[in-house]
Symmetry: D2
Subunit: 496 residues, 4 copies
């Protein structure tokens, strides 16, 4: 499996498997992270012997961090073969990628690692090249003596891998990739170019790939949104499990993860005291709730904006000022967007900000802040303070600090959600992969959430590590409220 290393994948990669010190550093971190990921470790214990994922070939597209390394090694421990790319150009931790590429035994001579295609700071062209590699199982086919093998599962974050398969097949069926249109983003042009090259090389690569896939498990709000649209429009090609809306994902990753990683990113990027500052948090969904709580916990005065009157009322009841950005833009020190929408902060807003106001985003895409507008603003100048931290000198004589070029700053400026949070999310991912692979008959094409008893199982696997003592219902109590003693305990519409 000599091809299963980063070094072999392309000579353009910025690190080599031979850089064993990087892999070794990653291995240390993976070992420590395992201690913080009790859900995944419990699944290894429960399923490590029976290997229910034997025969699974997983194409993974998810931030290539230390935590993802523990996820990958859990999938492998359950019997799967895996190829991996990151789902964000800045989010890879190179030491984690190196450790996964080398494998746990650490030998560069006989690497037993996982083929991984990810490094911190990819160009968009490199990013989509990487994403294509997780669908290219040529070396596995050679090893198996087969003509062709494709993945049979996708593990996706944001939906780029799923998008590639859907668009690839669509253009193959059409026999052509459309020309670039005037309004197309740079990224979309890169995708079209990649698919044009693909179509030139093979007329049915994505069609075959799509046919092979048993299903996809999707990590984020954004990717889930795309899936529901595909399903609504009758274009979804295979079943999808919406991992994002497991309670132990959306209410944990989004809220508690951001609570942790937002101040972490601000600190690493700027070292600015958060206490006493005026902070503007756009959006009071789970991400915004976590952000607002974290910043208040550091002594900031938080102002929230919302479009949904229910969330707005929640913010007010939690003691936050709720204002439109236009009303307060000039008194804010730190801006944080987490809405999932676009142009939440416009160039006009930026021009009205205080000198050296900090502008950052923890929503999935970088268009929450109008970076495109800023980049074309006459007289604006961009100065790199350090990687992922840029001072934009504005024509009005003031500057703002933009973190991670408007992309997810908690990944770009820090290390993303911490292991314990990701253990919840990823335990959902593994259970979802198991559901699709082991019980495909339960999942006709459509979008599903995991059944509540699995959601509760994910939580249950994380209690001991925190010293939580769970109370057990007596049979009389269970009967009184009409639930089994072992759960599930709540109606489906319960909101937690």
């Amino acid at each position: 499996m000599a091809s299963s290393t980063v070094a072999d994948s392309t000579t353009a990669l910025p690190f080599k498997v031979a850089d064993l010190s990087l892999a070794e550093a990653g291995r240390h971190q993976i070992r420590l992270a395992e201690n913080e990921m009790p859900g995944l470790m419990a699944l290894r214990e429960e399923f490590g012997a029976s290997k229910p994922l034997a025969g699974a070939r997983i194409a993974g597209s998810l931030h290539m961090t230390v935590q993802t390394a523990v996820l990958i090694e859990t999938l492998v421990a359950l019997g799967a073969h895996v190829r991996w790319a990151s789902c964000n150009i800045f989010s890879t931790q190179d030491e984690a990628a190196a450790a996964i590429a080398v494998g746990p035994d650490g030998s560069v001579e006989h690497p037993a690692g996982v083929p991984v295609f990810a490094w911190k700071g990819e160009t968009l062209e490199e990013y989509w090249w990487c994403t294509q590699q997780i669908f290219d199982w040529t070396s596995e086919a050679e090893a198996a003596g087969a003509d062709w093998i494709g993945p049979n599962l996708i593990l996706d974050d944001g939906g780029d891998a799923t998008l590639l398969v859907h668009r690839g097949r669509e253009f193959e069926l059409a026999g052509a990739v459309p020309d670039d249109a005037p309004g197309d983003s740079h990224e979309y042009r890169v995708i079209l170019a990649a698919l044009r090259a693909s179509l030139a090389a093979s007329r049915d690569r994505w069609t075959r790939t799509a046919a092979e896939i048993v299903g996809v498990t999707e990590e984020t709000t954004t990717g889930v949104h795309r899936l529901y649209e595909l399903a609504r429009d009758g274009q979804l090609l295979f079943p999808a499990i919406n991992v994002n809306d497991s309670v132990t994902k959306s209410k944990f990753d989004n809220k508690y993860g951001i609570r942790h990683s937002l101040p972490d990113g601000l600190n690493r990027a700027t070292d600015v005291l958060i206490g006493g500052k005026v902070v503007f948090v756009a959006g009071y969904g789970d991400v915004g709730k976590g952000a607002a709580e974290a910043l208040r916990g550091q002594g900031a005065r938080v102002i929230v904006s919302e479009v949904d009157p229910i969330n707005a009322l929640q913010a007010a009841m939690d003691g936050f000022q709720v204002s439109r950005i236009e009303s307060v833009v000039g008194e804010v020190d730190i801006f944080v967007t987490g809405t999932g929408n676009l142009n939440v902060i416009t160039v006009d807003h930026i021009l009205a900000m205080k000198h050296l106001a900090i502008v950052s985003n923890v929503g999935h895409f970088d268009n929450e802040i109008d970076m495109a507008g800023l980049e074309t603003l006459d007289g604006a100048e961009k100065i790199e303070i350090k990687p992922q931290v840029h001072e934009w000198r504005l024509p009005n004589g003031r500057s703002v600090l933009v973190l991670s070029e408007g992309r997810l700053m908690n990944l770009g400026n820090a290390t993303g959600h911490p292991s314990f949070v990701m253990s919840n999310s990823f335990t959902n991912q593994v259970l979802a992969q198991l559901e699709l692979f082991v019980s495909p008959e339960n999942y006709p094409v459509g979008v599903y959430v995991l059944p509540k008893h699995l959601d509760e199982k994910v939580a249950r696997l994380h209690l001991d590590a925190l010293g939580v003592e769970l109370t057990t219902l007596t049979p009389e109590q269970a009967s009184y409220i009409g639930v089994p003693v072992d759960g599930p305990y709540k109606v489906d519409h319960y909101r937690y």
Copy 2:
């Protein structure tokens, strides 16, 4: 409408309409409460002229407080006729009942008020007598020259009014009320006795009543639970709207209401410093979340218990110790139950408590604490410190303080949820009554939640009062996330 006064209803009632000073005090409080109930006042403005509830006859069973008075007068302003009882023996505020009985013009000569049957401190016999009165529209029938008139809507809290109709009809169909069974609670025996008397007086009173009813709107978790069971078992007689599960009800009333009224009840009952104390909160649903937040906000150290691993994990992630009651019972100063389950605190637990530990319940029924067991405990003695505050001297030489005899202490020891919270809940109630009465064709027999746009409307009506500025989506933004500019904004399974 001579019967429309408390004084006329029965000579046993503890206050007279002639006690105008009580009514006047209530009227002042109603006027102040109106300032805190912008949702209801907005509905009066929107629908006061068109009177869409003209022809509605509402049997209301809900804590007869000042806030409920504003609800009642809103229903009347929309055209409804109303009869009212409380849904808890301790929860009536007598001045509110008096003011409603007298009516806004305050004249004892020509009372224009609403027939109300409620006073603070009813016996169970009185309570069920009162509940029956809201179904007895004899005087309205007389006034209309009709043989018989029944209500066509129920507005319920906890389901007692709905229970009475269902059981009454069931026994009428059976031709007999069952004998008391050995395990029957005292309260159930009172109900059976009332229905026996009813059956003796009329063979079809409840059958006719049930036939007339267009639907019920139900306020609480407990009542909703009963409704879903009736529906599941095919026994539900008319459509029901689950008001409890509107976001602006369950996530506001349960959480923010308890946050307010729990410490209020503790303070009025005991004047004990909450700061520095160890408090045990059973249950980390919305009620428990509000309780824990309030007590931490007062400087208590809060220990939570949970049976659901997801809620337990939430409690831990919010920084609370999560323990079984047995592990900590001897170090706790204040116990609060809010689970909706029974025997959460047993007599054995009580015997293990510190001297003068405070035992209180904010769940719907008094059986969260095993009061029946305490009352039959050999050697236990009950001393009234003041109304709704009792010292129980235990055979082990220690005492505990029990609030409101184990019933809802935030109502028994304080004045319940404050007006602003109830404005959210009650605006949902009015909208739900409107839905059932105006558009019955949309509601075949079954249990429904309000559509999301009405939930958002409730929130929207409460923003101005708090100075909240709502952000408006641009058409481009609305299109980007695939929602109308004016909402609704979220998928149904969104958890807030």
Copy 3:
């Protein structure tokens, strides 16, 4: 000691010793409060046998609450004779006064209680009459067969008792009481009238009284401020211990007491939801810190005002908006003053407030709010909603709600600081009385704070009740930081 009862003191008093149910209710509350006042109970245990206060005659002027009852009975247990008045016209809890007047044995035939002169809702004339009674030890003199006896200790709160002695003696030396001057407040005129009558009856009553007094222990910031002024001006007649500035008083009573009793008072007065409201807290000293924390803990958005830049910076660093009242007056729902200064809220401010804004004070005097100005405002009308809650209808058509007529609302609308907090303050009081009475040689005329080891002792006596485990220094550790193993642990200027 037949005269030692409220009933005997004056026929005008609103309750009778014969009203044993009132006394009995008070006795229950005193018994419960003892459980919350471990410091005082520990002093009874330590000094109950040796009776170091035998021979002490204490004139007490301090809110006559249940907690003060435990203080009084502790002083008596240590051997003192005591006469008591309240230091605020609204702050007496009548059941506590009754219980103290009757004494622990509860017998109306042979009352063994303490002479107490206090009831809820005194007029100013009654108030100063009561204050004079604590200096009139005629019945004690008769019992002792002496011509005249005066008190030898004052226990003061706010300095009114001390003021009476100083002014009384001053006018006796001058031979006349000055005439009322145009700018004199109503209260000062009442004092002058009282002293005129006193001078008419005796030319040296206060001079003799002052000579007898060993010292005063003063409870509050305001009273201490007066004492330091007297000392600075060379007019102080006897030594004073500044109890207020014990850490276990000022940082506990002021901060944690207000944190508890401010929301309690707001709730009992208005039942208005605090969550989501905009609250203005004037002053960010210990009182303001406790107020702001409590209100944020209930979900309010708190705006603070300050004149001291250090305290202002603290407020900002704690996450609060810091603004001048003029900048925000129109958006505030609830105003709370706690500055110790006058005219913090003026009539102009009141006229700029929202309809039904709540105006309240937790500073010592009622002039933080310009009540005098409001009372003389043309076109303003005062409507009593309930005792201590008044709607002021303003000439601009709006109303505001004023609590406790601008006086201490946490006492007037609630029951003041809770027992546990007062146990800290009052343990300091007893230790201070002991210092002055047992070791007068250590206290030449001047103002003192208690030595740090006694401050630490007060804290130590309250730890067990809260389950606090204190860590003990090893001798090596104590030596390393240069303190005794048993304390005191900090330099005098340490700020906690």
Copy 4:
């Protein structure tokens, strides 16, 4: 001034002035930090023209961070000459040192910077070599044509520079440096060796230096403690200003600084989720208060230990469990010491910890944790995870993670207190240097705190940046409370 560069100082230094990119990166950070240090920038504006520090020669020993760079350049802007070392072997930010060494004009040819002797990761031998260099003003003497020049001011943090002068002079007077004694720490042996070499080279170097010094301003609790001991024992050689006990230092740096930098250090070191974890904070002084607030704000459950009953009671009243370490050691995930004492965490405690518990210190010295004991523990093995993060494998089969080898982790694992906090501390430092240099007549040998009006000035200079509106007293109000309109506002013993 060719010697004024790092590169010239010693060939052993890890970075060169020629590494201009490092200096440039530091210069960017200094520019950003200036925006966060309004107090220092205001002093440059106030005193930049008059240059009151002209003639001052300052030997500075304080963490060589970006913030200290702004301090240094402020001192230079006020006219001082400065030489600088760090006061901790790990705390230097190399880019800040490089930028200061190069100076603002950035030219390597003619560096105009400040002689700085500091780099991240010094050995103890290097550390004390650096500390000596700030007293060696040979090049300044040469430039001035003088035989010898010494510094006339010390700016100290922790007291090492002051210690060196006092011990150096003591041994010179004795004519010999004592031999190493068996119990001497490694660090003390390094100091003795350095002074032996010094004595061999010069018999009166430190005696002359001490004579020249006008005074020292000291930054920390620890250093201040040493100064009070020297003063008490009559050994203090020159006046000292205790900057630590300015309110705007101790209550800001210690509390708000740690609140910021503790979670920052934990995150950068371990990326472990703080939410849900059990954290043990030793000490509830200002440092512990900031630590506990920060960790609770991240959702941790915090357990506090204390030896002082007053602080212990404060912790309980703030809602924290207060326990001895022995009672809870096995359930804690993260340990933080901030007591200023030694052996707070012993090897026995470490052996009782959970696997991979995190052990960290934010107190001044590394002996809060018994690192010496751990280093000599049989069977313990130290593995570097990354710089300043070590896994210690214990003989019991478990591991713990030790941060910064037990030294200040907020400096070693993060970047120390943020600029805004340090602006408060350093504005005090500059004002203190000014006091000693400009008005030496006011400061006979002894230890002083800054007068309150200067403390208030420091606060005042930081309000605008946070958008704080300060309220101004009316003359009537100022007179009523007996203070000047412009302050100072509080009595000296006021605790804030």
